[in-house]
């Protein structure tokens, strides 16, 4: 099994190098004629107005929060799923109870109106 993780480690290193090769190649082949107008930020052909790092809508934060809740739930469900075949019958109900708790949370945030895009 250690060979497997070594495989993945080397793969990550090579995976970072492989796409860098065409970029480096392009650096040698392509022209380098920069001028201030070309390096300016794109805003549909007009001068940029204001800072680029705008305030973001709080709705994105809420969706990320809901995602975190469900992601943690699924991480807890993975051992339950792996042990599924060897479990006695009542343990399926325990897992389902856990899922239903989170379905309750989903219904709560749904009715609270948190899931609207506005």
């Amino acid at each position: 099994m250690q060979t497997d993780w070594l495989f993945i480690g080397i793969f990550l290193a090579i995976g970072l190098v492989f796409p860098a090769v065409p970029i480096v190649l392009a650096y040698f082949i392509s022209p380098h004629k920069s001028n201030p107008l070309k390096n300016d930020t794109y805003e549909c052909g007009i001068e940029t107005v204001g800072e680029a790092w705008v305030q973001f809508k709080a709705q994105y934060y809420i969706f990320a929060l809901v995602f975190v809740v469900f992601d943690v739930e699924s991480v807890f469900l993975f051992p339950w799923a792996v042990a599924y075949k060897a479990m006695p019958f009542f343990m399926v109900f325990e897992g389902i109870l856990f899922i239903l708790l989170l379905v309750g949370a989903l219904v709560y945030i749904w009715r609270k109106g948190v899931l609207e895009w506005a």
């Binding site: 793969f11 796409p19 392009a26 300016d40 994105y60 993975f78 599924y84 075949k85 479990m87 399926v92």
Partner: protein
């Protein structure tokens, strides 16, 4: 010297390399390192060369769906079109906006492609050929796709451009949202096979593919994967006419090429993943005796999955961003949790109260349970849409509404008392 085995030629080459290096007198750790390096080099090269072929395939097939020929000028049947595109991108100037964050700007396309290539480390190609048969394969896949999401955020943030930033926010919101039903539907093959390792999941499908045992989960996984790769009908991330290309606005030349490579490799990675989890991976007649046949079956199934993706893309219009999010949180998440509960209950009840059922019996029972689930979901949606229409219009003649209506009245859910 390892005996020549044509049915298992790649593993034989691997062992031959090890034997040859050991016979030269090198240390065993170094031999292992070189073996792995060679294997990874070959795998990464194949994985990065497949998109060149699939881009051509996609343009031809999408063209045929739109009643036109695809590219047919460059080379016979337009086969050299991808090479021409790569050459063009190589010779374009690489413009970096002058206030952009240089390190992150340059690193983010690399991380994007990294997250896709490393998925292939755990996908089994044949009964003896899998890069790394780790026992947490599914969890590894989910972690790696998170890395892809971070790469998009990095690209958008470091570009110093409002459009790129907003595009990156939307992209990350969509990707992160659709990961939830994807993870939940992935729990079902893990349950049915009892292991998170992808090779074990494929081996457990020797008798019956999981698409028969859990068709609803399979279709849900397919749809959420299409949303994950940002493909139509979920391609708001790259809708050029709408948000001016989004997070890769400021990328030019080969860096843009690498983003496009990431997108097409990701699109192709869904086919093999769907084939591995639901269509039985490399399983097929004589796949265990002749491992090379396993590769053939696997490629056939993954190209079938890819053809389905192109088909869906050519057929459906784009979904609006708020419809997209409502569809996910109000339809896919509850329905996938419901599918998980139903599959868990039915399978366990069968093995508990009727332990002698064979493969066919189990398949029939689970398939029927899935069909009943689909029927009840459709009935639930009809009732919800009917209730909404009656409330809105005071009108009794309501037809079958669509699930993407973002109203928070859902009569199929037992409302908690509050």
């Amino acid at each position: 010297m390892p005996t020549f085995d044509p049915a298992n030629i790649f593993m034989w080459a691997y062992k031959f390399l090890g034997w040859w290096l050991t016979s030269l007198g090198l240390a065993p750790e170094f031999v292992l390192f070189v073996q792995l390096f060679a294997a990874i080099g070959m795998l990464a090269t194949v994985v990065l060369l497949i998109p060149i072929f699939t881009i051509w395939l996609e343009r031809k097939i999408a063209g045929r769906f739109q009643d036109r020929l695809g590219p047919n000028r460059t080379g016979p049947y337009g086969l050299l079109q991808s090479f021409a595109d790569v050459l063009k991108l190589l010779t374009k100037e690489d413009i970096t906006p002058h206030k952009a964050d240089k390190w992150i700007f340059n690193l983010s396309p690399l991380f994007g492609v990294l997250s896709i290539i490393t998925v292939w480390a755990v996908i089994p190609w044949a009964s003896t050929m899998v890069g790394a048969d780790i026992n947490v394969g599914v969890l590894y896949l989910l972690g790696i796709s998170g890395l892809g999401t971070i790469a998009i955020m990095m690209g958008g943030w470091s570009s110093n451009n409002k459009f790129a930033l907003l595009g990156a926010f939307r992209a990350v919101a969509q990707l992160v949202a659709y990961e939830v039903p994807m993870i939940i539907t992935l729990l079902i093959p893990v349950m049915l096979s009892g292991s998170m390792s992808l090779q074990s999941i494929v081996k457990a499908q020797g008798q019956m593919w999981f698409i028969v045992l859990a068709p609803f989960a399979g279709v849900l996984f397919f749809i959420t994967s299409i949303a994950e790769i940002g493909r139509a009908p979920f391609d708001l991330l790259e809708a050029e006419s709408e948000i001016a290309t989004g997070y890769n606005i400021e990328y030019t030349g080969m860096k843009f090429g690498v983003w496009m490579l990431q997108e097409f490799s990701h699109a192709f990675a869904v086919g093999p993943l769907f084939a591995t989890f639901f269509l039985g991976g490399w399983q097929g007649p004589y796949a265990t005796e002749i491992p090379v046949l396993g590769i053939v079956y696997f490629m056939l199934k993954s190209f079938f999955g890819y053809f389905m993706i192109i088909w869906v893309r050519s057929t459906l219009p784009r979904i609006r961003i708020d419809h997209l999010m409502s569809l996910n949180w109000k339809f896919f998440v509850p329905v996938s949790l419901l599918a998980l509960i139903v599959t868990a209950l039915v399978d366990k009840a069968m093995s508990e109260f009727a332990p002698g059922t064979g493969v066919a019996g189990r398949a029939i029972v689970l398939f029927t349970a899935n069909v009943l689930l689909v029927i009840s979901v459709i009935i639930g949606i009809r009732n919800a849409a009917h209730a909404v229409r009656v409330k809105e219009e005071g009108d009794d003649h309501a037809e079958h509404g669509d699930a993407a209506d973002s109203h928070d009245d859902h009569s199929a859910h037992p409302a908690p008392a509050h």
